[in-house]
Amino acid sequence: MLWISLLLPQLPLELYGRGSLLPDALNDAKSDAKSDAKPGAKVNANAKALAILEGRGADCEHDHAFSSGRIIACNARAEAAGVCRGMSSSAALALLPELQLRLRDRAGETELLLNLASWAGQFTPSVALDFPNALTLEVSGSLRLFGGLPALLSRLRHGLAQTGHQVWIGVAPTPRAALWLARQALAQGLPAYGDATQPSPQQATEAALPPMLTEQTLQAGVAAMSINLLQPDAQSDAPLALACDALRGLGLRTLGEVLALPRDGLRQRFGPVLLRELDRALGSQPDPRTFFVPPPRFSASLELLSEVNRAEAVQFAAQRLLNQFAGYLAARSAGTRRFMLRLGHREGRFTDVVVGMISPARSAEHFGLLLRERLATLSLRQPVRLLRLEAEDIQPWAGADVALLPDSTDGTGLGVGAAAEAWPKLVERLRARLGDASVQGLALAADHRPEHASVTAAVSLSMSPSAAQKHQHNQHSLPSSQLHASTSATSSPLPRGRGERPFWLLPRPRPLPERNAVPLHEDGPLALLAGPERIESGWWDGDDVARDYFVARTPKASVVWIYRERGALQGGQWYLHGLFA
């Protein structure tokens, strides 16, 4: 068993701050290059100072908490100004008048943690929740798939950076030890794992690994841990917290010292909980976990720190949600054909942006591109303060077949397989920008009337030769080699029953004047080459046509398709209907 614990102590803060367009990383990297200041305290001049308040007990009500609450978390900008945990809101505001204060939203944090659990499901089906702010993943079954622990950790780090979270990681053979290890890393002031705001030389390399315990080092590692890791929330009155207090009162500092005490005495004095915790951490007692099951629908929201009216800012925040969404889809091995981004304005009003796809997709990058095209054409009437991503149409992911042999490249440089994958994405992208009606396929219709013989059709998504084509071959009893390999398309015999058809058909026939019974094109009199081909059809649906079609050549040697209306005794009006390009 191998457990990875993801500790997210900044969750209250990230609930509000992760959607901000100016990530600390961006600006801090710059300021770092300039001044090379001490790496511990990063100050981002552009980021807004933010602190989270929490009221105590009965003060949890909104108005009261703002005046009496204490700060439980603040970002680097606020910290640099001297704001710290436990400070009252008035003291913090005195230090930093522009400080933004938010009330702690425990329900929101839980929702965020659940969403992260969904996201983490892409790495392993065994994701356990450690409330209030940690996830524990059992990954021994996934190591092979992801190419070993360092590769898996690197993916985790990359993914968490994209969803906008700071995480401290511990790796150990038991879940409890992994969590304590992560807490230890946090308590020792180690930088967040893979945190781009802390570009110290060790962290800069991809191979930087979080603290890790193996079966051999587990005993010694746990023994060296501080007692405080058992229950970091000192205010809690849980039995474990009381036990910790008592142990500290005895002058014990590390878990090793606790383990050295007689077990019977410990059990009598502190109850079974303390011993159970220690035994589970060491693996001498089983530690059964209930694993998280992703919900059938996806819904995640993100509150913006300040109102936003630029599309890029919305895009940036939405990308955070899309990354989460992609992880959720991967965890459920599903794809989606439709998702909706709801942009929340003031007074509970929403603008809904629906993105549809023609085939199920699951890539955050692809979602982001589609959304960008949608947002580019959207005009926001009001600033946005909340984003909510919802998807109900979750479908099983079919997966792509991978060829055993390398892709055949058919002489065009790119495998048909790769092209087949890119094709639906191209169609979706064009549709997102130009509208569904502007991107169409073509199909034949069994109708003699020329304007009805060609219809728009849904774009075909499969890359194999279509059934229609095969059918057409049979109908014309032409071997396909003859059709395709003929040196000139015109040398193949005309389909039976039809004259030549032009490549371009005018949407509406254009009337042509006539002189001496010869139709006149804009270039001059037309010379008739072939005809008439009589087409009479359509009396049953009211769009009756009775025409004699001719192929004609203009004086400039263009070849056109014209017809003369039948019916009148002296010959009807001439029309231009197509161009033989």
Binding site: L442, A489, L505, A517
Partner: protein, 234 residues
Amino acid sequence: MLLYKNTVKATLTSGFAELDAELPGGGWPLGALCELLPRHVGIGELRLLGPALASLSAAGRSLAWIAPPHRPYAPALAAAGIDLARVLVVNTRSEREAWWAAEQALASRSCGAVLLWPGQLPFIALRRLSLASADSSALSFLFRAPQAASSASPAVLRLALSACVGGLRLDLLKRRGAPALHGLVLDTSMAVERSSSQRIQPVVPAEVSADVPAEAQRASPDFSPVLSSKRLTV
């Protein structure tokens, strides 16, 4: 070695032996921008591409028609051997959208051929398309006005098309390698053009019905241009 690979890319036979002989590599260049400058619409510019498009679609490659000047007509494409399921028609509201769509189609590398009617194309857009085309393996054709021949272009192949007796006259304004000294004439004429040596006089419907009973004409949709031209010539 690498240099050689870069200069001679894959080609696709045009289906016309005379043209293949003139094109470097023996066919239309893949992954390179080509310009066609037809003097008028309707002189056979699409018939010129017919065989290449047909063979691409038969191989399962998609054909993107971007901002075509008129509706592509399905029966004609089918008659030229093009698999209609592979055809994508993109209509755009502005020239800018058309360029964007063409660039996307090329960049996605999923199209076998991209045909673009770009309208007035500034050099920067032309350059972008040329780069996108070089990254792809697609046959990429721009249909431009004949006046564009006088302006510079990053396209590797530029053909001016004009109609002449017996088919289509091609002048290779630009190609890789040695410049072409003379144009060539391809027989892209349709069967009806060759078979009708005589002009047809239009006839009033009354005479037609006197010659051939109207019922017979309706009953037999078979149409032979040669036959009717003889019958109808007075």
